[in-house]
């Protein structure tokens, strides 16, 4: 097996931040995955330009995963390539992991961690903190998980290769998601209450805020469309009133 040095690993990690640079409807992040793998493949196929080109070409094929967990796949594939595992086996491995890496990351990061972190930042701003405190708190909390996922993912992939499935099952992603959801629900209530009641607000404003919160929960994702409709109506009414 060809050892991949620290420099190669560092370049792979940095390139993982651009994995979605050429996202497209045909191969999704296939080109991006090959882009991450290039430093490792240069090492593995040193002195054989044709084999390197063919390997890079193979890895531009269809691939998808959550962007933060693409490093897991890249690490494992780099290890398989270093062990000179047959391309068919590598292709089967890629097909096997891409669905789970997508679902796992989407649920934990987009559905739970990011809204929770956003609500933390927004809550701080609504509570009266300086703008940069809210923004910084969000960025720090969100990126703590983000950066860990990329760095850990690459390391685990390189270490475990084909066994990465077992490693992923051992990480408590589900529990992390559940904890984030609990914190997020708490923060959503906190932020909604702060937004509902401006300084010196009247009881009717509290009542209207409660009604809006209930409506928002009932509408879920449709709240955006309903809010846009209401704001457009308000604009039309405002324009009419301003003219009269």
């Amino acid at each position: 097996m060809t050892e991949l040095g620290a420099g190669v690993r560092r370049r792979m990690l940095l390139r993982s931040f651009c994995v979605q640079g050429s996202w497209n409807y045909q191969t999704l992040i296939g080109t991006g995955l090959a882009f991450i793998l290039a430093p490792a493949l240069r090492n593995v196929y040193a002195g054989d330009g044709d084999a390197l080109a063919r390997a890079l070409g193979r890895h531009t094929e269809l691939f998808n995963s959550h962007p933060y967990l693409a490093a897991v796949a890249a690490g494992a594939i780099a290890r398989l390539e270093a062990e000179r595992v047959p391309p068919e086996t590598v292709a089967r491995f890629k097909a096997a992991v891409r669905g789970s890496l997508g679902t796992l990351g989407d649920r934990l990061v987009w559905l739970m961690w990011r809204p929770m972190s956003v609500l933390l930042g927004v809550s701080l701003v609504l509570a009266g903190a300086a703008w940069w405190v809210g923004a910084l708190a969000f960025l720090l909390v969100f990126n703590a998980l983000h950066l860990w996922m990329r760095a850990w993912g690459l390391k685990a992939g390189l270490r475990d290769g084909l066994q990465i499935g077992g490693t992923l099952r051992g990480v408590p992603f589900q529990q992390m998601g559940n904890r984030a959801a609990q914190a997020g629900a708490l923060l959503a209530g906190f932020a909604a209450a702060l937004a509902a009641a401006p300084r010196g607000s009247h009881p009717w404003q509290w009542g209207a805020g409660l009604a809006a919160a209930i409506l928002g929960i009932a509408l879920g994702r449709r709240v955006r469309a309903v809010a846009v409709g209401a704001l457009l109506l308000a604009l039309a009414a405002g324009l009419v009133l301003a003219r009269t």
Partner: protein, 225 residues
């Protein structure tokens, strides 16, 4: 007041970088509306006003999930433009609800335009996909990846520039003095509350008790201040 020519140029570059952060490079989430709007406000010297409008945009963007090949509105570049133009347009520290309303509606409109341009970019990027039978050299692969990133930056910069110019033109054209302040301010606030509360659906209805506990804590803080 309007952003100066130099500020507009800086905003376009910032919009391009924020667009990259949204998908192509980094994904550190600087592109979230409330952060992007604060940065837009910072460019014109009023980040606090920028984040004010950003929080409202964020509340309406919480449920947008960029999962897989889904199509979704793009929040970052329009928030940069809205934060900057709105902050620059305010001659006093207190924002008028009419300007907030128009800036938010324009930003939401540009979010849809942004989402449409993202789709077009992804179709354009299909040309960068796959490889010939003989494979790809590392240099050629890097150029393909770089082309997609450069196109995304240009897209975000142009989108932000157009949004800044359009928002500035509309905000300077409309006379908001006759707009009813209290009803509009209330409606904007309620839209924010509904957006923030809708996030509970992401976290699961089983977490209702925690939502209520958070709301009680928020009510106490609001009452004390």
């Amino acid at each position: 007041m309007s952003p100066t020519a130099l500020q507009t140029a800086v905003l376009a570059v910032l919009g391009g970088l924020v667009a990259l952060d949204g998908t192509s490079v980094g994904q550190f989430m600087v592109s979230r509306p409330f952060v992007a709007a604060a940065l837009g406000g910072l460019v014109v010297g009023r980040p606090a006003l920028g984040i004010g409008i950003g929080v409202l945009l964020e509340a309406l963007h919480l449920a947008v999930l960029p999962v897989g090949a889904s199509k979704y509105p793009e929040g970052g570049p329009p928030a940069v433009a809205a934060g900057a133009v709105f902050a620059a347009s305010q001659t006093t520290a207190v924002a008028t609800s009419g300007t907030v309303l128009v800036a938010v509606l324009l930003a939401l409109g540009f979010e849809w335009v942004g989402g449409w341009t993202v789709e077009r970019l992804r179709q354009f990027n299909v040309r960068l996909a796959g490889a010939p039978p003989e494979g790809l050299s590392p240099g050629r692969l890097a150029r393909r990846q770089g082309a997609g990133i450069a196109a995304d930056f240009a897209r975000g910069a142009v989108l932000t520039l157009l949004a800044v110019l359009a928002m500035d033109a509309v905000l300077s054209m409309v006379d908001f003095s006759g707009f009813p302040e209290i009803p509009l301010a209330t409606l904007l606030r309620l839209a924010m509350v509904a957006g923030l509360a809708s996030a509970l659906r992401l976290f699961g209805r089983g977490n209702y008790p925690l939502f209520i506990a958070g709301a009680a804590a928020g009510a106490v803080v609001a009452w004390l201040r």
